[in-house]
Amino acid sequence: MTRFTFIISESSLIAATGLATILTKEPGFQVVRLVSNARETALALARNKPNFLILNPDICKTEKSFNLVLSKLGSARAIAFTTNYEHKKSVLDSFDARIDFFDDDNQIIEIVNSVLRKKFEQKNYEPEKASELSEREVSVLKLIATGLTNKEVGEKLFISEHTAIVHRKHITQKLGIKSVSGLTVYAIINKLIRLEDGLPLK
């Protein structure tokens, strides 16, 4: 049987344990760690390389710590666990799905399964789908390729850093290129920027 591993990142032990109990009832689901702050989350992601991270965005006290967690996701899917309604859309956009504190067990399992289905659909269809970047993504790509940080990209395009990160994630998924230098090469090959404008590849 395929196994899927989870890390739950939530400051309330009661909520975390409850969530873990619900998840582990599903055959093949295994909760490998419960953590309660951003640093531990980053560590656990690096160490356990789980399939899923269920994260309450509230445990990240700063934007920086939230971005640290995002950067350690690797191939893990991120699901938000929300206990209040005051989350910025840009924060929620960084997640593949959202579980709410008031969701019941069936709803929770269904949310996770829907992410799984999405994941496999993507895997199957990816080779066929031509990776058309949207206009917005092209403009983000151009800026990244010239060496701008996510924050600078956000400032230039009047969008938040989070939105810039989300665009970047989509670009990476569509092109299959993760590193900045790789994106630069892509942008030059496709004549989106000129060789001399590219991030100095040293």
Binding site: I189, L201, K202
Partner: protein
């Protein structure tokens, strides 16, 4: 399959040919006859448990040398890792670089591709060098320091505020750019003139990626847990000392 000391070394290689690379790093030469893994290790003065841990981590993603971990000295682990670093920096990278430099396109319009791929490879090469240098100059010396304190050969506090946790978070994977380069070649570059060479480059990239992956797993699953355990014991000893005072 878990490899054990009483298997024939030759059989092990037949089943898992990638192990041949590992043998090299241990200084084991071919011409193995019917010797068992244990006999080969004894003849080459290699600690059997350590050899088994390395080859098993190498072959099996879920393997973890729980029982034997405490028996490995830091020097043993470091020596192995350094040898593999050397292999990447001084054997693999130059070999791939040579092939990349030979890539060519008929159409002069594609001149930039040559420049691009070469430059990309150079940035990767630097990344690999920085990564391995950092490990050899910062992380390994720190680990040896921890071991000294742990064994009581050094009564001082740990060398710095550094801890292996810091490294665990920072430890980035070296496969990312290789993955990108493969996709650039497979998907985005116009096909070069010498496509056999291009294929060989691809194969080499796949192979290096896999090897680096295994290498990182040894760092994450053998080296880091070992240091962590020692750090914990040291911290425990320190706090019990304080209580006694």
């Amino acid at each position: 399959m878990i490899i054990s000391g009483n298997m024939k070394m030759a059989d092990v290689i037949h089943r898992q040919h990638q192990i041949a690379i590992v043998l090299n790093r241990f200084g084991i030469l071919l011409g193995l006859g019917d010797k068992t893994v244990e006999q080969v290790c004894v003849a080459c003065e290699i600690q059997l448990d350590f050899f088994l841990a390395i080859v098993n981590v190498f072959c099996d993603k879920s393997y973890f040398p729980r029982e034997t971990l405490k028996n490995f000295s830091m020097n043993l682990i470091i020596d192995y890792l350094k040898k593999s670093h050397h292999y990447y920096n001084h054997t693999k990278v130059p070999a791939i670089e040579e092939m990349i430099q030979k890539l060519c396109w008929k159409n002069p319009e594609n001149e930039t591709n040559v420049v691009l791929v070469n430059k990309f490879w150079l940035t990767y090469k630097e990344e690999l060098q920085t990564h391995t240098e950092y490990e050899e100059q910062v992380v390994f010396p720190y680990m040896l320091g921890v071991e000294r304190v742990f064994e009581g050969r050094h009564s001082d506090l740990l060398p710095s505020k550094y801890s292996i946790d810091v490294f665990e978070v920072e430890h980035n994977d070296l496969e990312e750019k290789l993955f990108d380069l493969k996709n650039i070649i497979i998907k985005y570059l116009p096909p070069p003139e010498n496509f056999d060479l291009c294929n060989s480059i691809l194969f080499e990239l796949f192979r290096l990626e896999k090897d680096l992956n295994n290498h990182a797993r040894i760092e994450d699953k053998v080296m880091i847990p070992k240091v962590k355990e020692m750090e914990k014991t040291i911290a425990r000893q320190k706090s019990s000392k304080k209580e006694n005072q």
